[in-house]
């Protein structure tokens, strides 16, 4: 067998790939579930924190800033490990899936809060003043005048950050989550062949490359004119 054939036989072994394809596919489902949960809860919590911050209650702000700084400083893997291996000692024992979901959601919450907040504060005071002086309440001003403008500014940094955090779903392997990498790794040890890993890699590309391309398109659409 030529060198090339041997390479294909090893890394792209059709028999092995066919055997473990269902596992990889179910891994993709888990990855997608995780990613969607993270994005929805993370962004939602981040926006909620930013809105709370706009109330300008000092002690609350300090708490928010502390929480945000905490989750921006800690590596996501550390948070996952702490939650999965450590939390049981205090009572609750979240599954690998829940640990990964919550950890990454907290991280996205922290980063997105900062981005939303920066967007809100960059809207000039004059906008608030004009709106309030026509009789709109704080809430109405926030939702009808400020947030729509802030939204445009926050899209590019937000898409970038969201993508890089949801790629962290692969970290779930470390706590036995049956997402793509987890499935691929076990398949690889069972078959003593790296083809499942190549499939797993392909699965990630299939999932995330379109998202990155879409993000580029979104960023271009919302780009600032110089």
């Amino acid at each position: 067998m030529s060198g090339w054939d041997k390479f294909v036989e090893t890394f792209f072994n059709a028999k092995v790939m066919w055997k473990y394809l269902p596992d990889i596919l179910s891994g993709m489902v888990v990855t997608i579930e995780l990613a969607l949960l993270i994005v929805v809860t993370g962004l939602g919590a981040g926006l909620a924190l930013a809105l709370l911050r706009s109330l300008a209650i000092r002690p609350l702000n300090w708490l928010i800033i502390f929480i945000v700084d905490l989750f921006r400083s800690l590596p996501p893997l550390v948070i996952i490990v702490l939650m999965y291996f450590g939390l049981p000692y205090a009572g609750p024992a979240p599954s690998g899936f829940v640990s990964t979901w919550l950890s990454l959601a907290f991280v996205l919450m922290a980063f997105s809060e900062e981005i939303f907040w920066a967007g809100i504060t960059s809207i000039p005071k004059g906008q608030w003043e004009a709106s309030r002086s026509t009789g709109l309440s704080f809430g109405q001003t926030l939702f009808n005048v400020v947030l729509p403008q802030a939204f445009r500014l926050t899209i590019p940094p937000l898409t970038n950050r969201t993508i890089s955090i949801t790629k962290g779903t692969a970290l779930g392997t470390v706590v036995a989550v049956t997402e793509i990498l987890g499935q691929a790794s076990s398949a690889m040890s069972n078959s003593y062949n790296p083809s499942p890993l190549m499939m797993g890699a392909a699965a990630y590309v299939v999932l995330f490359l379109p998202v990155v391309v879409a993000a580029r398109w979104i960023e271009a659409k919302f780009a600032w004119k110089r």
Binding site: L77, F85, S185
Partner: protein, 221 residues
């Protein structure tokens, strides 16, 4: 609860191991950050060549490595390459994976920085006889880097946090050592120690970044 998470006895016992891990994390960061910056700069300079035959493959490369989860890349190198006869140690795998992944992120940041410098600057420089390279080096890059400094710092922060991935391929950095200590002592205190150390190490940069980011976003409007 203190017994479980802040156990003084265990803290004393685990300290040497955790300290080793910290040093390795710092060492690792000092290597992969410049590697990534270098890779990114090369990518951005290549991108400034407007030829489509250069731009398209380049953009594909960058998008690929931004889309690809770094952990998967790392595992691919560490567990997959041996099947091709190449047994790179954990450390080498981390270096390569990070070079590819963070290089792409830094590349995008540098590229955005270069694009943010007004075209008139290059025209003025070229009109006084400076070559393309000279204009890039003395006029464009200094301004480009200044413009994207917050993003560069932010990404560097991410790279340092990413070193924790080394724990998955047995690189003896902070998280790995902490987990070792935890499995020996059956107590999560070492991991809490590691978390506290990460926090103390990185929090000042996070605070600084927060300030810079707020100023940058406000300025752009």
């Amino acid at each position: 609860m203190i017994e479980a998470f802040f156990n003084i006895e265990i803290m004393k016992a685990a300290w040497p191991i955790v300290l080793t891990g910290l040093w390795n994390t710092i060492l690792l960061s000092l290597i992969v950050v410049p590697l990534g910056l270098f890779g990114g700069l090369i990518l951005a300079l290549l991108a400034s060549i407007r030829h489509p035959l250069v731009r398209w493959p380049l953009m594909a490369w960058v998008d690929f490595f931004r889309a690809f989860p770094p952990l998967v890349l790392l595992v691919l190198l560490f567990a997959g390459l041996p099947f091709a006869g190449l047994e790179l140690g954990g450390f080498a795998c981390v270096a390569i994976a990070f070079f590819l992944n963070t290089g792409s992120y830094y590349g995008e940041i540098f590229r955005a920085g270069i694009d943010s410098v007004p075209g008139g600057q290059v025209e003025a420089a070229r009109s006084t006889g400076l070559s393309r390279m000279q204009a890039m080096r003395y006029v464009v890059l200094p301004q480009a880097v200044r413009n994207v400094m917050p993003d560069l710092l932010s990404n560097t922060l991410e790279v340092v946090k990413l070193t924790s991935l080394g724990s998955v391929v047995a690189v003896p950095e902070l998280l790995y050592e902490a987990r070792q200590a935890q499995s020996i002592t059956y107590n999560p205190t070492p991991i809490v120690m590691a978390a506290v150390i990460y926090f103390l190490l990185l929090w000042p940069l996070v605070r600084l970044l927060s300030r810079l980011e707020n100023r940058a976003l406000a300025g752009r409007r």
